[in-house]
């Protein structure tokens, strides 16, 4: 079934199809229509779930954590400061190995207040141990939500599905709604191995010592660091699992892309723009224009940001002379996080500086600063000249006072 709907509704339908059982959410722009749609679906009986109107985002994820520990499939969604408010819980869910799915409708963070799109919110959660995926359009939103539940429950790591506030959440696009029966086949019911159960009493996530410690049977059980190392190891193995799931989804639903990077005209490109989210699709017109001018340029959308697909970046993009990262976040005091991650990946891939792609970074669109196609065109054209030195951080679209 093809429909025309907003990105938020696409996400809500993805959650509905995934048969989430417990939903707790707190309203924050631009996520609100997503939770409103879910409330409507539940109250009308079109979705069989518990909707819990919590009094804060911190509680929203607390409800999900507890519900997931009790064995239910749990979902929440938020943006910006709401995500920051639940930051403590974000860490917790990952360490507790709970397969929670959360939609982050990307919005800039205060101070000062902004309600418009950028990626600073999701970036602030980059190192928490959550899988982080970015959708570039509405079809990817609904598909990624469904894949996210499958991935989370396979690897027992929570998944953040990010999509741009307003640019995707509030715009209307056509997309296909997957068939419900087929989704049920792709995503079976959640079965927790261990859950809160009076028949099997146990204490979840209690204080864990720095050193390993024997249990009552004398088996040596891990210390804190071992648990965290397991999370890291399992996160790296997600790279394989995410690819498997992408393949299965494509086979069952007839569409899908590379699980890590979605490339456009990159195979023979000397210069490749790299970005996250909807911006990547905007770049395609820019790429086409520059190609008309004879500049061998392409654009790559990073779909899976954590775990970072470093090998795929090197293999698929490493042939380029220069990678130009365009991102909507800054690690203040250094440079854009995606830019730094890309550089690190390339650094690890080869010691030969001559072989390695140059990397430049642009920061743009913070607080919803309008991104003009002409600006993208000019920036990319400038960066594509052989004389252009790679600059770690340049601002695009900044309007300094005269």
């Amino acid at each position: 079934m093809h429909i025309i709907e907003s990105g938020n509704v696409a996400a809500a339908m993805g959650v509905q199809l995934s048969r989430a059982q417990v939903i707790a959410a707190y309203p924050i722009t631009p996520q609100t229509p997503l939770t409103e749609k879910l409330s409507e679906l539940i109250e009308s009986g079109d979705m069989n779930a518990e909707y819990i109107p919590v009094e804060s985002e911190h509680s929203a994820l607390a409800v999900c954590i507890a519900a997931s520990t009790a064995g239910a499939r749990a979902f929440t969604a938020t943006s910006a400061n709401g995500l920051l408010y639940m930051h403590e819980q974000v860490h917790w869910a990952a360490g507790a190995r709970l397969p929670i799915v959360m939609c982050v409708v990307n919005r800039g963070v205060g101070a000062p207040w902004t309600i418009w799109n950028d990626h600073q919110d999701a970036m602030s959660q980059r190192d928490t141990g959550w899988i982080q995926m970015y959708a570039c359009d509405h079809q990817q939103i609904i598909d990624t939500v469904i894949k996210a539940f499958r991935l989370a429950e396979t690897v027992r790591i929570p998944v953040m599905v990010c999509y741009d506030g307003y640019l995707l959440s509030h715009t209307y696009m056509p997309f296909e709604v997957p068939d419900s029966n087929r989704v049920d086949g792709f995503l079976p019911a959640y079965e927790a191995e261990r859950f809160l159960d009076p028949e099997n009493p146990a204490n979840f996530n209690t204080v864990t010592l720095p050193e390993p410690r024997p249990d009552l049977q004398g088996h040596t059980m891990p210390g804190y660091m071992e648990f965290r190392a397991m999370l890291q190891d399992d996160m790296r193995r997600v790279l394989k699992t995410a690819a498997d799931i992408e393949e299965t989804f494509a086979a069952q639903f007839g569409r899908g892309s590379d699980p890590y990077i979605e490339t456009y005209r990159c195979e023979d490109a000397d210069y490749i723009a790299v970005c996250l989210g909807s911006l990547a699709y905007r770049f395609r017109d820019v790429v086409d224009d520059l190609r008309q001018e004879g500049i061998p340029v392409g654009v790559a959308a990073v779909r899976l940001y954590r775990p970072f697909p470093d090998q795929a970046i090197c293999e698929r993009l490493g042939h380029a002379k220069q990678l130009i990262v365009f991102e909507k976040a800054v690690s203040y005091g250094y440079q854009g996080p995606l830019c730094a991650d890309v550089k690190a990946a390339l650094y690890n891939s080869t010691n030969d500086k001559e072989q390695r792609s140059e990397v430049s970074g642009y920061v743009l669109g913070l607080g919803g600063r309008d991104i003009k196609t002409l600006d993208l065109l000019n920036a990319l054209r400038t960066s594509c000249s052989p004389q252009s030195a790679s600059a770690p951080l340049q601002w695009l679209g900044l309007k300094n006072q005269e």
Binding site: Q21, V22, A24, A49, E50, I52, P53, V54, E55, S56, H58, S59, A60, A62, V63, C64, I65, A66, A67, S68, T69, A70, G71, A72, A74, E88, Q89, W92, L196, D197, P198, N200, P201, A202, N203, F204, N205, T206, V207, T208, L209, R213, D215, L216, M221
Partner: protein, 301 residues
């Protein structure tokens, strides 16, 4: 109040293993041990950072024989809501949810989530054990620390503010059951938890919990100290059921005319009150007297 369970009628099953890390003479240990007897086997516990976390044990050994989820400090009530949501969504019946949190985790950092849950009427029993400071982290002052108490963050002058009345805050949410108990009166506590189990909606139980380590008295007097607080009219055993207030146990007897002990021995026998002056005690005595006058005017014995 119905119930009036006697010692001989208490369930014999123990739900807490000995050899745990609670202090010697811990008031919480008594309340927890008897409280779990009241809750029974079909219970899921929710516990934030607190003395109870330590009592419950370090990975991989748990001292509680019931399923329990440890949660972040501010989120106890929200987590209880989450467990309930899952039980409903999965159609798991016959299991109740009980949160156990300290005074800080309830009345300070936890109040927002608790207020939200009470407003939603989420069907769990929330038990606050009030040892009147952040005891687990080393006796820092909390909202329920009484006036004048020395704590590690009020180390010289004692707490200038008074004690936050958390049960009153909960009663203002119009939840069906609010109770005030003492760890020194475990049979009264048992009956109140048992009653709470029969009520739908959010139930709040506040337990005044003497703490020998934090209050500065010999552990052998934990029960005696708790009883003294009740017998001097400082701490009242009561329940508010559907908005209707009634005193219970010793407090009820005091209303009926049993002689009330003076408050001074309670304060003078605890190290944390050594900065209280005679004027402070007089002021406190007046407060207690006024409170009981109001009780006598308002409520029947």
């Amino acid at each position: 109040m119905q119930g009036n369970t006697s010692i001989l009628n208490l369930p014999k099953d123990e739900f807490v293993h000995p050899g745990n890390r609670a202090c010697s003479g811990c008031g919480l240990s008594i309340a927890y041990r008897i409280g779990l007897k009241a809750l029974g086997r079909e219970t899921i516990l929710v516990v934030p950072p607190s003395c109870l976390t330590v009592l419950q044990g370090l990975y991989p050994i748990a001292s509680t024989k019931l399923p329990c989820v440890n949660v972040t400090f501010a989120s106890t009530a929200a987590a209880a809501t989450g467990v309930l949501g899952a039980l409903r969504a999965m159609n798991r019946k016959g299991v109740q949810v009980a949160a156990w949190a300290g005074d800080g985790g309830t009345g300070d950092i936890g109040i927002q989530a608790l207020s939200g849950a009470a407003e939603r009427g989420d069907d769990f029993i929330y038990i606050c054990y009030d040892n009147e400071a952040y005891m687990n982290t080393g006796v820092q002052r909390s909202g329920t620390t009484p006036h004048g108490a020395l704590t590690t963050t009020t180390p010289i002058k004692g707490k200038p503010q008074g004690k936050k009345d958390v049960p009153a805050v909960m009663a203002a949410h119009n939840i069906p059951y609010v109770a005030s108990c003492s760890a020194a009166c475990p049979l009264d506590l048992f009956d109140k938890i048992q009653k709470a189990k029969t009520i739908s909606g959010t139930k709040y139980i506040h337990i005044h919990t003497p703490c020998p380590s934090g209050w500065g008295f010999d552990p052998r007097y934990t029960v005696k100290m708790g009883k003294l607080a009740v017998e001097s009219g400082l701490v009242d055993l009561y329940e508010i059921e559907n908005g209707c207030f009634r005193l219970t146990g010793t407090s009820k007897s005091l209303l009926a005319g049993k002689k009330m002990k003076d408050i001074e021995p309670y304060f003078r026998s605890q190290g944390r009150f050594k900065r209280l002056s005679n004027e402070d005690i007089s002021q406190l005595r007046r407060t207690v007297t006024n409170k009981w006058e109001t009780y006598r005017k308002t409520y029947e014995a």
